[in-house]
Amino acid sequence: MKLKCAWCLSCLFVASVVMANPIEDQIRIRQSTYAVMGWNTGKIKNQIVDHPETYHKDQIIAAANTLSALAHSNLLEELYGPGTDQGTGWKPTRLKADYFQKQDEVKEINTRLIKETDELKVVAETGDVAAIKSQFGKLGATCKSCHDLIRVRE
């Protein structure tokens, strides 16, 4: 009986893993991920560049930690599966069809994203606004290089 239950549960688990992450889920989750990233880059831009008088060290550290965590979240492997160049999450995806032919460049940018967000975490801890600003610029350029490479122009 116990064994049967375990068997059923593991079957259910396997089935849910197989059935989860259809294309539209992947697209929706990655769109959400970038929305959260944009929320945090927007916050850093606001507090570090546009209105330094509103700078809150803890908030910037939290934003940098969030960005770094998302960069480390394995999103390339889990959210960019085959067929995800077409479909609708929150809105139609803007992933270019030739995304899958550009894996070397994509992986290089992904590595850079991890490196720059990690570095941002370090400078956020120091509270050196000028250093945060300069590191934030490098991160922005990294974001842009990927937008230019794999995102369809609207």
Partner: protein, 227 residues
């Protein structure tokens, strides 16, 4: 060949031209590179807006050859030009077409740019007046317009070098010195004299427009209305 010197481009117009070159080249480079330079992209956009407003007003208040009425490419002028009967100085009718196209594309770049965003850290000065989804679309148009601008700038430079090397007519020097040399068959009237008070007036209007758009004044005012 004895030639007569003729003033065509007044100094505010020449200053406008070369500042516009700086602003557009700078905006292009900073826009392509992104990152921290995005702030400069925005500032250079502001400078470009100011220069465009200046040029439009100078097209009515400037000296003779700066005025739109004297080079607007009407069908009649274009026909005259294609028949080979145009012997004026300043912008010829086809050149004028390309000048107006350049000014229009630049104006469209400014209008789209002030509403654009880059999904990273840039929001145009009027971004908050519209929806994010509309801003995303406008940002796409902004990028397409850059392609159009590159084409027109390429055409502009090619034409200047075609005149220089093939037609042996240096158009760069007049844009530096203000003077052109008349061919014997050309006779044109004086360029008139430059009015400094008008120049100051035009610069004041142009900088006010930039300040109103870039300072957040418009957004704040509209926000106060809806409160």
């Amino acid at each position: 060949m004895k030639t007569i010197q003729q003033k065509v481009w007044d100094w505010p117009l020449r200053l406008f031209h070369w500042l516009l070159v700086l602003a557009v080249v700078g905006a292009y480079i900073t826009g392509e590179l992104g990152g921290s330079l995005t702030d400069w992209h925005s500032r250079l956009g502001g400078l470009t807006l100011g220069l465009l407003v200046f040029r439009v007003l100078w097209g009515f208040l400037g000296t003779y050859y700066a005025r739109f009425v004297h080079f607007f490419p009407t069908p009649g002028r274009l026909i005259t030009y294609f028949k080979g009967d145009w012997h004026g100085v300043g912008h010829n009718p086809v050149g004028a077409l390309s000048i107006f196209a350049l000014l229009l594309v630049l104006a469209a770049l400014i209008v789209t740019g002030v509403f654009a965003n880059d999904d990273i850290a840039f929001e145009g000065p009027l971004f908050h007046l519209i929806d994010k989804s509309l801003s995303d679309r406008i940002s796409g148009w902004h990028e397409w317009l850059v392609d159009g601008l590159l084409g027109l700038v390429g055409l502009h430079i090619t034409a200047v070098f075609y005149y220089l090397l093939i037609k042996k007519n240096n158009l760069i020097r007049p844009m530096l010195t203000g003077n052109t040399f008349l061919r014997p068959y050309q006779f044109v009237g004086s360029n008139g004299s430059l009015s400094i008070p008008r120049f100051i007036f035009v610069v004041l209007i142009a900088s006010s427009v930039v300040w109103i758009v870039w300072s957040g004044l418009v957004t704040d005012y509209l926000a106060s209305l809806s409160r």
